[in-house]
């Protein structure tokens, strides 16, 4: 059984030999690549803490076998900021108190990034809430999370309008 894969993770190509076909993308990121920003909450696809972008789309990395994603382009929370410059979503989560304990935050931010890329939520609070329902926050920071995502979505919309004006 050939268990070698190559992934691009946060822009860096990684050639990897898996020790076992059971390794999930989540465990590969955390245990092999030591990218521990992606969190293991439920490990069953229910909490969203493990959300990453694969080929630009948000998925639960706990329900993805690494072997099945050979060749994929993966973006994790570690690849979101530019050096010391926070991504606008990260800054907005701070500005709006979009977290308390912070455990779900990497998943929330990756999910929000996916949501904005999907382009379905506009700046409608109800569509944002619906689009973020796959990410649980046990601290209950939902109103701050919604405000942070809305702020970034609105600034993107404004920028797009200026560009087309």
């Amino acid at each position: 059984m050939n268990l070698s894969i190559s992934l691009t993770v946060n822009g860096v190509r990684r050639d990897l030999e898996l020790e076992d076909p059971r390794v999930t993308l989540l465990d590969l990121l955390r245990e092999r690549l030591h990218l521990t920003g992606t969190k293991k909450g439920c490990d069953r696809g229910q909490c969203g803490a493990c959300t990453v972008l694969v080929d630009g789309r948000r998925i639960n990395s706990c329900l993805a076998l690494a072997i099945s994603h050979d060749g994929a382009d993966v973006l994790t929370i570690e690849g979101v900021a530019r050096g010391d410059q926070l991504h606008p979503l990260q800054a907005a989560f701070i500005a709006h108190d979009g977290f308390q304990c912070g455990f779900c935050t990497p998943g929330q931010i990756m999910s929000a990034l996916g949501l904005i890329r999907e382009g379905q939520a506009d700046d409608d609070p109800e569509r944002v809430r619906e689009g973020m329902s796959g990410n649980l926050c046990r601290c209950g920071a939902y109103s701050g999370i919604t405000d942070a995502v809305l702020e970034v979505q609105q600034s993107l919309n404004d920028a797009n309008q200026r560009r087309s004006a």
Binding site: R22, R44, G45, N60, E118, E130
Partner: protein, 352 residues
């Protein structure tokens, strides 16, 4: 999780040959299968990864107005395909009302059709379950069963089928295309899932090695585009399985219902087509009286399998609501909370 051989076939023929072996399972999006494997509920010895098989990720428009959807098309891609959503808005809405955005990005059309029940006793390997272990008994019969089946159940099994997607598919006469050891064949989605009877472990018409390669909607389904809805009651407004759900599609001409297509979800081990109710609506004037009579006919054979008598009335009310909304006309854009009869905005009564 039990370990397994991992095989990535290069063709459908290779996939079918590899999956015919006892203990083999197909892997597509993995959102249900990996969860089941982590819990020890299913223990395949071989995974045949069909997620990259060529040619299964297309949405094709057929000369007769039908649509053929490759089995590997992701749930989110289908729901957001503009032509698909225009012709089959209730199906798009059903897709968007299921699971979370992350899961919809990974889950495939074929996998959604074959997802397993969410019965808690099926998931709990310490409980007796005839579906998981034939002959073991059914702990749901005398357990927490308020969400279980009210139609088509047996003493052996009272589990429900969890798919939202399948409910409007059954209503609109969708068909699956299957490749197997004996070649190609097609099966109506309505005939794909089995009622439990004495053999609840047998859940579908598929044989070992059978691979769903495509889903087809007939051209006639487009006649219902202007008047269709999918509505779903759940215990939270998003990211939850249906307690009950209903798909209603109408063809209305000059103030009269010429044709109706109805199905219910969350009530049985399969998506439940309500033909007797359709017959009542055919030729009727749209309105609460006809809807209520249709709903009563749809649930005429229902009986509680436990603490779930309420689901029989709830299913009738949600069917009436779905018919009312369908008759009012398909909205231009899918609701902010797909399929929900509620809104999360304070003061807003209904967003559907």
């Amino acid at each position: 999780m039990k370990t397994f051989d991992y095989i990535r076939p290069a063709s459908i023929a290779e996939a079918v040959a590899a999956a015919t072996e006892p203990g083999a399972a197909y892997l597509a999006g993995g959102t249900n299968l990996l969860d089941l494997m982590k819990g020890g509920i299913t223990r395949p010895s071989r995974l045949v990864d069909v997620s990259r098989l060529p040619g299964l990720d297309r949405i094709e428009h057929l000369p007769d107005g039908g649509i053929r959807i490759g089995a590997q098309v992701r749930n989110a891609d289908l729901a957001h395909d503009p032509d698909f959503a225009r012709y089959h808005p209730a199906i798009a809405e059903a897709l968007l009302s299921g699971a979370s955005a992350q899961l919809r990005n990974a889950a495939t059309v074929g996998g959604n059709l074959l997802q397993r029940t969410r019965c808690g006793y099926f998931y709990d390997v310490a409980s007796a379950c005839n579906k998981r272990e034939p002959g073991a008994g059914c702990d749901a019969r005398d357990g927490e069963n308020r969400l279980h089946a009210v139609l088509g159940w047996s003493e052996a099994c009272i589990a429900t089928h969890p798919s939202d997607f399948c409910v409007p598919l059954v209503a609109l006469d969708a068909v699956v295309e299957i490749e197997g050891r004996t070649g190609w064949r097609e099966v109506a989605v309505e005939a794909l899932h089995c009622l439990p009877g004495d053999t609840p472990a047998r859940e579908s018409a598929l044989e070992p090695g059978d691979l769903i390669v495509a889903l087809r909607l007939p051209g006639e389904a487009r006649a219902f585009s202007a008047h269709q809805r999918y509505l779903k009651v759940r215990e939270r407004t998003s990211y939850a399985f249906a307690i009950v759900s209903a798909a209603a599609a109408l063809r209305i001409e000059q103030g009269t219902i010429r044709d109706a297509r109805l199905a219910l979800g969350g009530v049985a081990a399969k998506p439940w087509r309500a033909r007797a109710a359709e017959d009542i609506l055919q030729g009727a004037r749209p309105g609460p009286d006809a809807y209520r009579r249709a709903a009563e006919a749809a649930l005429a054979g229902a009986k509680p399998s436990g603490d779930n008598q309420f689901k029989i009335e709830l299913a009738q009310r949600i069917l009436v609501r779905a018919l009312t909304l369908a008759a009012a006309g398909t909205p231009a854009r899918v609701a902010a909370l797909p399929a929900s009869p509620f809104s999360t905005l304070p003061g807003a009564l209904i967003d559907a």
